[in-house]
């Protein structure tokens, strides 16, 4: 399954969880849940290491989360320089999983504080690529 549309720069061509991208294009950010032990995974996993099960089901995240930590990058790896400066963040979803993503460009760093409510949402990129980002709740 093709995974290569994900992210501004993608490094992965195929993945068993490539349906994540299809769901994202439909506006849904999906986690996976192990049907055997019930563990919820984000980023989605195709395989559960707790019971070595591959019997997983997709589950939509509400997108409601709280900021754990962040940084505004002033240097970037190849392919991201034109976006500088940009803010990277880690947040905790109400479902209990963590998400790593960029923060919406319109959010000023001075407005950002740890513990603030955020909304996780899909973000369409040029050239048919797609990702997700945090927005102000």
């Amino acid at each position: 399954m093709s995974f290569d549309k994900f992210g501004k720069i993608g490094y992965i061509s195929e993945a068993k969880v490539a349906d994540f991208v299809k769901h994202l294009e439909e506006g849904k950010i999906m986690a996976t849940r192990c049907r055997r032990c019930g563990q919820l995974y984000f980023p989605p996993r195709a395989d559960c290491p707790r019971d070595l099960s591959t019997d997983m089901t997709w589950e939509k995240l509400s997108g409601r989360c709280k900021l754990i930590t962040y940084t505004t990058a002033h240097f970037a790896p190849t392919g991201f320089q034109e976006d500088l400066p940009y803010t990277l963040a880690l947040a905790r979803c109400e479902e209990g999983v963590n998400v790593y993503a960029g923060l919406n460009k319109n959010l000023n760093e001075s407005e950002v504080h740890i513990g603030m409510d955020l909304k996780l949402a899909p973000l369409q990129l040029p050239n048919g690529r797609i990702t997700y980002e945090f927005r102000k709740a």
Partner: protein, 382 residues
């Protein structure tokens, strides 16, 4: 049978060193054998340590072993990014302890100027989880910056306290002729430097470098024959954490360092307060502050206060990175752990010159790969 470090060597760390990787390694190897009653053919195996994404040479272990005259003895590459050479030391320890080999050389190197800065930039982005985090444009400073931000929020650590780590580093860099940056810096310079990834600024970050290190380990019988001042490895701990940031349970400390430290203290039968001198992995200023806490030199959250009170200077509670640390020496990935080990061994042998900690008996090396991905803690005793 005890295991000793009998020889330590290091090249100066620099940029555009004018040497190829084999020549860099030779210089460190030669340095490590100085004053030893030893012929290189007594070395029964070599472990070569480097982060191969910086190497043009495929499978460099073979090339290095040939150039050092270590054929036909076995050789291979050990890699855990920035902690590669302390991983190599752990493997060498196990070889000797098991009786498989009596003497092993651990050679760490990196020639980071071998690839262009564009190539470096490209590789930087792939240090994170490439499926779920690299596509957002992350890199090493951003990773540690997120820990710094969380640490500041949780414990009230300040940018001034971070800067004070570099001020200490700069002071001691003047006494280390093998450091890349030998310059004292003021608190103001640090605080006014350009931002790399907030809250980390230029002087909060170490720099890429070229360099090599070499550590020779031997069993007790051999060690006593070839040197009058063996330094014993009495504790080794190693651990890993998730590659992904999302998988971390602690954003204000490195779980892998806590775990590796616990193992090493237990094996050495000592407490943190028994350590006389330490080298910790200060790839970023926040990393040194977290290391103080994770290793038990102070309570969680008091790392900022420890540097504020100058307790990690010589004469303080626990001198840390008094060779200038990575912040001043530079960070040639595969060579770094060996360089840290060398500093501690010279201290325990009483050969540290102007930075000698009087009566140092127990030393500790904390070497981390990635953003708290791999953790190695090694405890040594004279």
């Amino acid at each position: 049978m005890k295991v000793a470090v009998v020889g330590v060597g290091q090249t100066p760390f620099s940029r555009n060193c004018g040497m190829s990787i084999r020549e860099l390694c030779f210089e460190a190897f030669k340095d490590s054998l100085e004053d030893l009653k030893l012929s290189p053919n007594e070395i029964e195996a070599s472990i070569v340590c480097s982060a191969p994404e910086y190497d043009q040479q495929r499978s460099p272990a073979g090339l290095i072993a040939e150039y050092l005259g270590l054929n036909p003895q076995p050789t291979f590459l050990a890699e855990s990014i920035c902690s590669s050479s302390s991983t190599g030391v752990k493997v060498a320890y196990a070889f000797i302890k098991s009786g498989l080999h009596n003497m092993v050389a651990v050679i760490g190197f990196q020639k980071m100027s071998e690839i262009s800065s564009a190539e470096t930039q490209e590789r930087m982005g792939r240090g994170a989880d490439i499926q779920w985090e690299s596509p957002f444009g992350t890199m090493m400073p951003a990773g540690y910056a997120m820990f710094a931000r969380a640490h500041m929020q949780k414990y009230g650590t300040t940018e001034e306290q971070l800067a004070k780590v570099k001020v200490k580093s700069g002071k001691y860099s003047l006494l280390n002729p093998r450091a890349m940056y030998r310059r004292a810096v003021t608190l103001e310079e640090c605080l006014n430097a350009r931002v790399i990834a907030s809250p980390l600024k230029m002087f909060d970050c170490c720099a890429n470098a070229d360099g090599a290190s070499c550590i020779i380990l031997a069993n007790e019988e051999k060690a006593k024959k070839i040197t009058d001042s063996p330094v014993w490895i009495v504790g080794i701990g190693a651990a890993s954490d998730t590659q992904s940031t999302t998988g971390r349970t602690n954003l204000a400390g490195l779980n892998c360092a806590v775990e590796a430290g616990k193992q090493a203290y237990k094996m050495a039968h000592i407490q943190p307060k028994d350590v006389d001198v330490a080298e910790v992995h200060d790839c970023f200023s926040i990393a040194e502050i977290m290391a103080y806490e994770n290793l038990g030199f102070c309570k969680p959250g008091e790392g900022g206060k420890l540097i504020e009170e100058s307790q990690t200077y010589i004469g303080g509670k626990i001198p840390v990175n008094i060779d200038g640390g990575l912040l001043s020496k530079g960070h040639p990935i595969g060579a770094t752990g060996g360089s840290q080990l060398r500093t501690v061994v010279l201290q325990l042998q009483g050969r540290a010159g102007k930075t000698q900690v009087n009566g140092a008996e127990v030393g500790l090396v904390h070497n981390i790969g990635g953003v708290g991905l791999y953790g190695n803690v090694t405890i040594l005793r004279r």
